[in-house]
């Protein structure tokens, strides 16, 4: 008798009770907190004269508003300083661990959880941030919540949720040269749409997924929400365990690792589990993939033509027309050769050490185009330190990139890192919505870190595979 998918098993282990609404009350194993979506929740708690129920299962950092240049306190941006001060007061008063900039552990919340070993298989993980789905890469059930739900979790250690359906997305075959996890997820969202995952949790499986390291799996799970799925996960395996062994949680405590491993193994999806839906994608056919529009579902392989809105399903046509006008692209063209003004290598999707290594390997010996301002924003202080220990910072700086302090930065433009006017950016982030990168006329083209590196060098969207050929001649 099958106990079902990882989703079923983790849900059952964390279910406290059925609520009168028909929702389940789920215990939250790890609650991650950042400065933008939590202050109102702490405020509501104070109004109700309630404390934090499980402070030791809660961990905070600062990422959205934190400057990535001068970080002297008080921050020059008064609003950012106020938010930081509010977070400090809230967490210190509650006994919540805080990876603040002085700790050397600060970073984007979805980078620091996995690197510190806070994120583990079989956990329920929530955060007031839609990209919490990232942590599913470890076989956790992880999803974003709103501020009132943050209040719920702070006050009770639980969320109220309804169980969803599970869609298995099997990516078969081997990825081609120059094709990365980012290209897989952009392809998936392009095929299934930005609302294709509503009502579903995505289980990513298949050879192409199993072959990925944890960084790649995180990039894929991270963007589940861009496909409408609130959560996505990969079953834990040796790759997962190798990562975990090196984290703070277990590197000094191999016995604890061995004690928990049977639990992690037990939550893996059973071989005979049934899914509500199964989608198969040929990984070997995926090209370096970029967005041509203003939703993460408007994607094309680098050699594929931008679609004619009239050829799209009726409900997608208006959105596509508006997007093509905003982006100034024409149906039938490819995105190759699209001029860019900015190259942004960062975000919770793609700012981990492996992303930086791959981009640096490409950039080494090359120069950023004169008309491009290029920046690298490492995902965390630890990523930044590790990259510097390998000399990656010098590679980037020598090529003409700005090497910055960690934070969300130009992914959403809440600090000084923003597009100006109608600048176009080649971005390793997750959202190309109008205005997302800080300017409402700005234009965002989403792509993998190595494609960002290639665009930075040429000043236009470039097929990284052709560049590599040039380099080896």
């Amino acid at each position: 008798m099958s106990d079902g998918t990882l989703y079923d098993k983790v849900w059952d282990r964390h279910k406290v009770t059925r609520l009168p609404t028909g929702q389940d009350q789920l215990f939250v194993g790890l609650h991650l907190v950042h400065e933008v979506t939590s202050p109102q929740a702490f405020g509501m708690l104070r109004e109700r004269e309630q404390g934090v129920a499980f402070p030791k299962r809660t961990h905070a950092t600062v990422d959205h508003i934190v400057p990535t240049g001068n970080r002297d306190r008080p921050y020059r941006d008064e609003a950012a300083e106020n938010m930081m001060a509010e977070l400090e007061e809230n967490v210190r008063g509650s006994g919540i661990d805080f990876s603040d900039p002085d700790s050397g552990d600060q970073g984007i919340v979805h980078v620091i959880g996995p690197e510190q070993g806070l994120t583990q298989p079989g956990m329920t993980i929530v955060c007031g941030d839609s990209h919490t789905s990232t942590h599913g890469a470890f076989g956790a059930l992880a999803f974003g919540i709103g501020t009132s739900q943050i209040r719920d979790v702070l006050a009770t250690g639980c969320v109220a949720m309804e169980k969803q359906k599970v869609r298995k997305i099997e990516v078969t075959g081997e990825l081609g040269e120059g094709v990365t996890a980012k290209d897989i997820i952009l392809t998936i969202i392009g095929k299934l749409g930005t609302d294709g995952g509503v009502g579903y949790v995505y289980e990513y499986a298949g050879e192409a997924i199993e072959d990925l390291g944890m960084e790649g799996r995180m990039s894929i799970c991270n963007m589940s929400i861009e496909g409408g799925a609130r959560a996505g996960y990969v079953n834990p395996d040796e790759t997962t365990y190798e990562w975990l062994r090196e984290t703070d949680a277990f590197n000094d405590d191999p016995e604890e690792f061995e004690r928990l491993k049977p639990y992690w193994e037990s939550v893996r999806t059973d071989d005979d589990a049934e899914y509500d839906d199964v989608v198969t994608i040929d990984g070997s056919a995926i090209e370096p993939t970029v967005t041509w529009g203003t939703t993460p579902g408007q994607t094309a392989g680098i050699t594929e033509p931008i679609p004619d809105p009239d050829d799209l399903p009726a409900e997608d046509r208006d959105t596509a027309r508006r997007a093509q006008k905003h982006m100034r692209v024409e149906p039938g063209d490819t995105m190759e050769g699209y001029d860019v003004d900015v190259a942004f290598l960062g975000s919770c999707t793609n700012a981990r050490l492996k992303d930086l290594r791959e981009a640096a390997a490409f950039v080494e010996g090359r120069e950023v185009d004169d008309d491009v301002r290029a920046m690298v924003v490492p995902g965390s202080q630890r990523v930044r330190d590790a990259a510097e220990a390998e000399g990656l910072d010098e590679v980037f700086v020598d090529a003409g990139f700005d090497w910055r302090e960690p934070g969300c930065s130009m992914c959403l433009g809440m600090n000084d890192d923003q597009l100006e006017g109608d600048e176009a950016s080649a971005s390793s982030s997750n959202r190309n919505f109008v205005g997302r990168q800080g300017s409402k006329d700005g234009r965002t083209v989403l792509m993998s870190p190595i494609m960002v590196a290639a665009a930075a060098v040429t000043g236009e969207v470039t097929d990284v595979r052709e560049m590599e050929e040039v380099a080896t001649v």
């Binding site: 609520l19 109700r48 938010m83 209040r151 639980c158 208006d318 959202r431």
Partner: protein
């Protein structure tokens, strides 16, 4: 109904059985929460005053001159039923989005479909997200444009939207309907009542050290 506010003391979980009022249409699929409220307005530690920033970049140009947008139109001021199309509220989980809409005056959102986190955030504020088929929604938007002063009645329990002589067969998601109609959408209070069972669940999980679980009665 009046929108419940969480500004003073214990939040009420009042019953939300129906919403009546005039409509305001915002057309287009895939309107993301970055459009509903741009991130720069989230550099605040309360939700107070967010209403004025709803759809800000669609409503104002760089010089803060008004652009064409329903939220700027005189005839829709005072409207409380927002009528939208498909996949409304996709993207960021920011509760600032429904907070901004609610504080602008919206008490219910009617549309073809909603992103999940957005719908959940609306429920936490006691704001129903009611769905109906594309044809019915577009007809309602046309009607509201032609009759901005006409009343629209949403019956949450019966799952209908009524205007003029038309009754739309709508859907309010089961859990949401139950929560609103029975006044049990304050999930903090609801779940707080089960603290003992929560600790028991926590202790049953191999990855939770005993020291991380508060003592019973604590």
């Amino acid at each position: 109904m009046s929108s419940p506010e969480f500004s003073a003391g214990e939040a009420p979980a009042e019953k939300v059985t129906e919403v009546s009022g005039t409509g305001i249409p915002v057309r287009g699929n895939d309107i993301d929460t970055d459009q509903v409220i741009p991130a720069r307005f989230m550099k605040v530690v309360t939700f107070d005053g967010l209403g004025q920033f709803a759809f800000f970049d669609q409503r104002f140009d760089d010089e803060d001159n008004e652009k064409d947008h329903p939220f700027n139109e005189e005839r829709y001021q005072g409207a409380n039923v927002l009528v939208v199309n498909a996949n409304f509220g996709c993207g960021s989980s920011r509760e600032h989005a429904p907070q901004a809409l609610m504080r602008w005056g919206i008490d219910a959102v009617v549309g073809e479909s909603f992103a999940e986190i957005f719908a959940g955030n609306c429920l936490a504020l006691g704001v129903p997200t009611v769905t109906a088929d594309q044809e019915s929604i577009e007809a309602l938007q046309d009607y509201v444009e032609a009759h901005p002063d006409a009343e629209i009645d949403i019956d949450v329990a019966a799952e209908t939207i009524t205007y003029d002589d038309t009754v739309i067969d709508a859907t309010v998601h089961d859990a949401q309907r139950k929560a609103l109609v029975e006044g049990v959408w304050d999930t903090t209070a609801l779940m707080g009542a089960n603290a003992g069972a929560v600790r028991e669940t926590a202790r049953s999980l191999p990855y939770i050290p005993d020291a991380h679980v508060p003592e019973d009665g604590a």
